[in-house]
């Protein structure tokens, strides 16, 4: 039962969870739950249908340079933001050498580099992390 695992919900000493804090309900279209599926799932399912915006909405309008770094709009040699978020399945293909849909080769490389460097907390991170499906 829950109280058999007091370490679970109780915050560890030193970083108490504030009892009252700011809370975002988020956009109606965003997703706040990723359910772990069997690695050998029979259905393609949600993981490949999740989406990764480039860049994340917090930095909307910024450009992406060849190394995948987010740079100010108009930076020379960098690419404008992607028109629409990429689907997990497309990203997976691009990671294996394909091109992201609707992009040139260099643009696709830049976006993929951006996605590879996604940090926790950024939009699309959970989707990206779920794509890491090493199979033999």
């Amino acid at each position: 039962m829950a109280d058999e695992n007091p370490q679970d919900s109780a915050p560890s000493a030193g970083e108490p969870r504030p009892s009252r804090r700011a809370l975002m309900l988020g956009a109606a279209s965003a997703s706040a739950i990723v359910s772990i599926k069997p690695a050998l799932a029979q259905t393609a399912g949600s993981v490949l249908n999740c989406e990764i915006p480039v860049p994340d909405p917090g930095r909307a309008g910024s450009y992406i340079d060849a190394n995948g770094k987010v740079v100010p709009p108009g930076t020379k040699g960098a690419f404008p933001p992607a028109v629409r978020p990429f689907r997990g399945e497309d990203v997976k293909k691009a990671m294996n050498g394909g091109n992201l849909p609707g992009t040139s080769y260099d643009q696709s490389r830049a976006y993929t580099n951006y996605i590879r460097r996604l940090q926790r907390g950024t939009s699309g991170f959970t989707c990206f992390a779920s794509l890491q499906m090493p199979r033999g």
Binding site: S35, K37, P38, A41, Q42, T43, G45, S46
Partner: protein, 334 residues
């Protein structure tokens, strides 16, 4: 023959104590192949056995226990999806055994979720399930059309998030089979569980298991089916139950099948029974496993494959069906 060894160990668990390493190896392989390893693990728990065997069986027990939770959850999600429609939903087979807490559920490996709903409401059920995240497994026009016209269930659906299949039945045998059980009576006989889902009464469960075993299909996995029947008759046995069972079997036109199931169950798992010549063929088929878990007696198997189809369809339709399957590359497992 390891199929016979498996049946013997289920009947008399204490006899595992006499097994040597190769006996254990063959037993475990056959139990896995018959999907009875969880059942075996339950039966022999606490007996003396080599450490390596104990470990394999312990893992099998943990696996069926997790499988039980997942099966019950799948039933619960189907209940949530179908509850607003207010139709009766009867759980069948393994999920019903564990939901009702029956001994037949102990160690039972459970695959898909099988439910029975009234025939006139099956499309409503289908729509509600699709709205709740289930989708078609494989869109194949021939199979789809075939299912809808002739089968006793919808084409299988799989839940896109949980990766679990559901079979939605409206009766317990294909419409093409020569025996036509009274599906409405089965649903009416349903016993309500605490959450509102129904299960068949014990005699209905036995009749369904016997129908599934002898009147539908090629007896693959039949040993597990027969074990289900054994557990049910052991748990509910007695004169009163026998009368109910006979009446239920007669109502659905399955007297011959139920009587055969009881004879084979007594022969394999009980005190013995007088077998007919045909019964002996069934026994041969049910025990056809070698020490590597391979099916043996290919000819018997193929005969039962043909027979399974014969029972389900009139001959001309059978020919058309086999021809279509053949062109699509199906061959009986060999």
């Amino acid at each position: 023959m390891s199929g016979a060894l498996l049946a013997q160990m289920l009947r008399d668990p204490a006899s595992v104590e006499a097994l040597d390493a190769s006996g254990w190896t063959g037993l475990l392989a056959a139990a896995r192949a018959e999907q009875l390893i969880g059942t075996l693990a339950w039966r022999v728990e606490g007996l003396a056995m080599p450490e390596a065997a104990r470990r394999v069986l312990e893992d099998a027990r943990a696996t069926v226990e997790q499988g039980r939770l997942v099966a019950l959850w799948e039933a619960e999600m189907a209940r949530r999806a179908l509850a607003p429609a207010g139709m009766p939903v009867v759980l069948l087979k393994g999920t019903a055994f564990v939901a009702a807490g029956l001994s037949a559920g102990q160690g039972r490996q459970i695959g898909d979720l099988d439910i029975l709903v009234p025939r006139e409401r099956i499309e409503e059920a289908e729509a509600a399930l699709i709205a709740a995240g289930w989708e078609w497994v494989k869109p194949d026009p021939y199979d789809d059309d075939y299912y809808r016209r002739w089968m006793h269930e919808l084409p299988p659906l799989i839940h896109r998030e949980r990766d679990r299949m559901i079979d939605v039945h409206h009766t317990i045998l294909p419409l093409t089979a020569r025996i036509t059980p009274d599906a409405a009576a089965l649903i009416d006989s349903g016993v309500a569980l605490e959450n509102g889902l129904l299960v068949l009464p014990p005699e209905g469960m036995v009749v369904h298991a016997a129908a599934h075993l002898f009147a539908d299909g090629d007896l693959q996995g039949g040993l597990r089916n027969l074990w289900d029947i054994r557990c049910l008759t052991d748990e509910f046995g007695g004169t009163e139950f026998e009368l109910k069972l006979a009446a239920c079997a007669a109502l659905h036109g399955l007297t011959r099948e139920v009587e055969r199931a009881l004879r084979l169950s007594d022969h394999l798992f009980g005190e013995g029974a007088d077998l007919t010549l045909a019964d002996r063929l069934y026994v041969r088929r049910l025990l056809a496993r070698d020490g590597w878990g391979r099916p043996t007696r290919k000819l018997t198997e193929f005969a039962f494959y043909l027979r399974g189809h014969w029972l389900r369809m009139p001959p001309l339709m059978l020919l058309q069906h086999l021809w279509t399957k053949w062109r699509k590359g199906y061959r009986p497992a060999g």
